[in-house]
């Protein structure tokens, strides 16, 4: 595959194109989308719009169309995940020690874990570009904004380059445009930096993986918060990968599955979402039409 890779959004971004001649145009479109999302949705930039919104909680606040879309997508994810993927976990993440860009977190820095009541997504209203949420609510869009960025970037790049495009943002993968003849080859693993444990092909939509094996900063400390407790999720699944009609839906489902724990296989199956779940002991469970692993020749 023809592609390019660079650092963005605190992780690795890459773009692949079906037509090699279209790579530069595709990459430019992706970079523009990522820059816009970062300026709007980052929790780690003082000048990001989201930080201004969090600081203004308690009073109605007009937001840009991009942030409105990101918050709307986050609220939809919360509704469709029965509240398991909740954007109001911002304060809980900070208390867990995830209070700065992950690269700046040092193991052992964080204070002891403690439970916190998450306000809940129903506390947030957004209508006609005006956001209202109670004082004390702090939004974190990390669960869905990166996936939204992947979806938006893939669509923008496919339009700009007039070819099939795959965008990978730290393991959140979205494809748009006409896929290569044999589909897009995607590796599946604990860490988006590889190695992959399985290789699959997709032709549309997206694939996302949520893992408690990476982005950790101490025992029991990782970035996936259970909104029911306000603390990092209890260990059950090490990694969950989901294929869906969009990267946002795949990410919503994979994150919800990690939070749901033992209930996840049934929850995913009821939604007919192909998924691969890896328990902490390495046992693999597949759901719906997730393909079986092929052994190397």
């Amino acid at each position: 595959m023809n592609g390019a890779r660079w650092e963005a959004l605190g992780t690795t971004a890459s773009v692949y194109v079906a037509d090699a001649a279209a790579l530069d145009a595709a990459r430019a479109a992706v970079e523009a989308e990522l820059a816009a999302i970062d300026a709007s949705c980052s929790r780690f930039r003082d000048d990001a719009e989201l930080e201004h919104v969090n600081a203004a909680a308690g009073a109605p606040k007009r937001v840009t169309p991009l942030l409105e879309e990101a918050i709307t997508v986050a609220l939809r994810a919360a509704r469709l995940s029965d509240g398991m993927v909740d954007p109001t976990i911002g304060e809980a993440l900070i208390l867990a020690g995830y209070d700065r860009d992950f690269a700046a977190i040092r193991r052992g820095d964080a204070p002891p874990l403690r439970a916190i009541t998450v306000p809940g997504w129903r506390a947030v209203r957004i209508h006609n570009g005006v956001l209202t949420m109670p004082r004390g609510v702090r939004l974190d869009l990390g669960a869905t904004a990166k996936a939204l960025a992947a979806d938006r970037a893939a669509s923008a790049a496919a339009r700009a380059a007039n070819t099939g495009v795959l965008v990978n943002l730290g393991g959140d993968i979205a494809v748009a445009g006409a896929a290569p003849a044999h589909g897009w080859t995607v590796g599946i693993g604990d860490d988006h930096r590889g190695p992959a444990d399985q290789t699959i092909t997709i032709r549309s939509g997206g694939v996302a993986t949520s893992s408690t094996a990476v982005r950790t900063w101490g025992p029991g400390r990782h970035h996936i918060i259970d909104p029911r407790t306000g603390m990092p999720t209890a260990p059950h699944w090490r990694t969950v990968s989901v294929a869906a009609g969009s990267c946002v839906d795949a990410n919503t489902a994979s994150t919800a599955a990690v939070v749901l724990g033992a209930q996840a296989p049934r929850w995913l199956s009821e939604r007919n979402l192909p998924a691969r779940l890896v328990a902490h002991d390495g046992a693999v469970t597949t759901i719906a039409d997730w393909p079986q692993e092929l052994l190397a020749a």
Partner: protein, 120 residues
């Protein structure tokens, strides 16, 4: 006005008051039943309260309003499965070359390891 006539008037007033009272009670009951059917409440199942916040540095009171209508977006009604299920692919070279990990920006050559969906 004689005492008999006055007694009849008093009884008439009492009867009217009873009738008005019963009518009001009946209307209240009817409206209550109608309202109960119009606005669904709890389903009667027991729920477990979330753990309360431990000692925290902030004491902001969070007032939670009622649920808001989430604007419809594409596929808003449910999480959408993929149009076509993923397929198996033969395992490929998985290791990302060391050169790529060190270079912040560069082109990924052809016949390269595929993009990996994993945690980040």
């Amino acid at each position: 006005m004689g005492s008999t006539q006055r007694d009849r008037l008093v009884q008439g007033v009492r009867a009217a008051r009873w009738t008005a009272g019963l009518g009001a009670a009946g209307l209240t009951a009817a409206f209550s039943v109608a309202a109960a059917h119009a606005f669904k409440g709890h389903d009667g199942r027991k729920t477990t309260a979330a753990p309360t916040r431990a000692t925290t540095t902030t004491t902001h009171k969070v007032t939670v309003p009622g649920p808001d209508r989430v604007p419809a977006i594409a596929g808003g009604g449910a999480l959408q499965p993929p149009q076509s299920a993923p397929q198996s692919a033969p395992p490929q070279q998985q290791q990302v070359p060391q050169q790529q990990q060190q270079a912040p920006q560069q082109q990924v050559p052809q016949q390269q390891a595929p993009p990996v969906s994993g945690g980040s």
